[in-house]
């Protein structure tokens, strides 16, 4: 993913707000995002809604680097946004994430 100098870093949550291997929802400016903390303690962000139907991924299950949608169990790799097969066919948009002290910052263009 390329980020430009126009990237705006928005404070999304505290690093501790997300358990390891879990996800939370973050709403900003009329849009919804999903912020993940992986088992290896890295942070990632994607669009918050599944690309199959408009379901919040933050209600889903994180397994390793996969987020499974709570509605029909569609799976994405949240690091790349890649859809891993039916019923999800369209990739998720991903966003850069930065840790600043104990804050998780989300990079929005």
């Amino acid at each position: 993913m390329t980020t430009t100098t126009a990237t705006q870093w928005i404070e999304a949550c505290a690093a501790d707000d997300i358990d390891e291997e879990d996800v939370i929802r973050f709403d900003h400016d009329g849009r919804t995002y999903a912020i993940y903390r992986s088992p290896d303690d890295e942070y990632y962000a994607t669009d918050g809604l599944c690309t199959h139907e408009q379901i919040h991924l933050a209600d889903g299950l994180v397994m390793d680097h996969i987020i499974e949608c709570p509605k029909h169990n569609g799976r994405f790799d949240y690091r790349t946004g890649q859809a891993k097969g039916a019923p999800v066919c369209v990739n998720l948009k991903t966003y850069p994430v930065r840790i600043d002290g104990d804050k998780v910052l989300l990079g929005l263009a």
Binding site: E53, Q54, L61, H72, N73, R75, A86, P87
Partner: protein, 364 residues
């Protein structure tokens, strides 16, 4: 006053499809019982262990009963062995394709896929078609005009239900669809839920199924015996009763067009043998409300949310004491349904009671 009703349109491309969309019932927000995220996460956790154990028991009992049927073939002793083989093949496959289609039975993806394909063949459900129809069933559970898996449209087809105790109607429909798909076509309804990119798979698997059935038929003719078909193909029919016996408890006779699974689904307590055959799908309210929870965790999920759900049914007898009279009454009165009592009616999602789109007119 006698009333007559305009029949509902259960097709996915008709009047009720349009009405469901206009009324916000398509891909809508559904009620969920409150449950802390930590607890739900624990319940959603995947593991291979329970499904490996249940699959090993399933295959071992299939093998042993099949062996008995083969050994005693030509005597009456073969009957109980084939009865067991048939139920494991034709009925137990129902819950197996279902659980694996959700990808929750096993933790390991390929294990779900392997069992999914085997079970789909056994119950004669084309894997790609049913994966997508079941997806829609979960989006729009018992929403008329949207859900392709409404087992008992109103008025109920009682003869069809009885025929399906041996999968006669369902297999006839499935064979017609196989033939259609093998020629590279879908029907108009299937086009509404199977995406373009998945369709080639449908056609090739249909051809494969037909090739297997043709091979078994040729084998039977070659040896002058139906024995091969007793193992592959026919058990879909003679082993089917529990597909209907268990399956009808899920939604039959309950409300339509309601965005709350507590009102359109049943949870029925069952004994451990039935729960093995049915992989805990008797916890059907729970399954629909939280489809991410694997079958082996459904009893715990049930305990976690039961205070917010209607009273479960205490066994198949109690469920059928309600279902049979309801379906018989719906033959005459299609607008009738069983209204489940919620513990806190104030927490119900506003709904249409399934009759909103039925115009009631005085009879002449």
């Amino acid at each position: 006053m006698t009333v007559s009703t305009t029949p509902r349109d259960y097709s996915l491309i008709g009047r009720d499809t349009r009405l469901a969309e206009e009324n916000g019932l398509a891909a809508a927000q559904w009620y969920q019982c409150p449950i802390p995220r930590k607890e739900l996460k624990e319940l959603m956790k995947r593991s291979d262990g329970p499904a490996l154990r249940d699959t090993a028991i399933w295959f071992a009992t299939l093998f042993l009963s099949g062996l008995g049927g083969y050994y005693f073939w030509g005597t009456w002793w073969a009957v109980p062995f084939f009865a067991v083989y048939g139920i494991l093949y034709g009925s137990a496959s129902d819950s197996r394709w279902h659980e694996c289609s959700h990808g929750t039975a096993f933790k390991t993806r390929w294990m779900n896929d392997v069992v999914y394909h085997i079970a789909c063949f056994m119950i004669l459900r084309e894997p790609t078609v049913w994966r997508w129809s079941h997806t829609r069933h979960h989006t729009d559970t018992i929403i008329v005009g949207r859900d392709p898996e409404i087992a008992v449209p109103r008025p109920p087809d009682i003869l069809g239900i009885l025929l399906n105790l041996f999968a006669l109607k369902s297999s006839y429909v499935a064979m017609k669809k196989l033939l259609l798909h093998a020629t590279g076509r879908l029907n108009e309804e299937e086009k509404t839920y199977i995406p373009e990119m998945e369709r080639a798979k449908v056609y090739w698997i249909a051809r494969l199924y037909l090739a297997i059935f043709a091979a078994v038929a040729i084998w039977c003719f070659a040896i002058g015996s139906i024995l091969p078909a007793m193992f592959i193909g026919l058990p879909t029919l003679y082993g089917a009763p529990f597909v209907v016996i268990f399956g009808l408890t899920q939604h039959a006779g309950l409300d339509e067009d309601v965005l709350d699974h507590r009102l359109n689904s049943r949870t029925v307590y069952m004994n451990p043998i039935y729960r093995f055959l049915y992989l805990n799908m008797n916890y059907h309210v729970e399954h629909h409300m939280f489809p991410m929870v694997p079958y082996h965790a459904l009893p715990k999920l049930h305990a976690a949310i039961k205070a917010d759900c209607p009273k479960p049914y205490n066994g198949l007898w109690e469920a059928y004491a309600e279902i049979i009279p309801t379906l018989l009454r719906q033959v005459r009165e299609p607008g009738y349904f069983v209204e489940r009592q919620l513990p806190d009616p104030n927490k119900a999602v506003p709904h249409n009671h399934g009759t909103q789109f039925v115009s009631v007119v005085p009879a002449e």
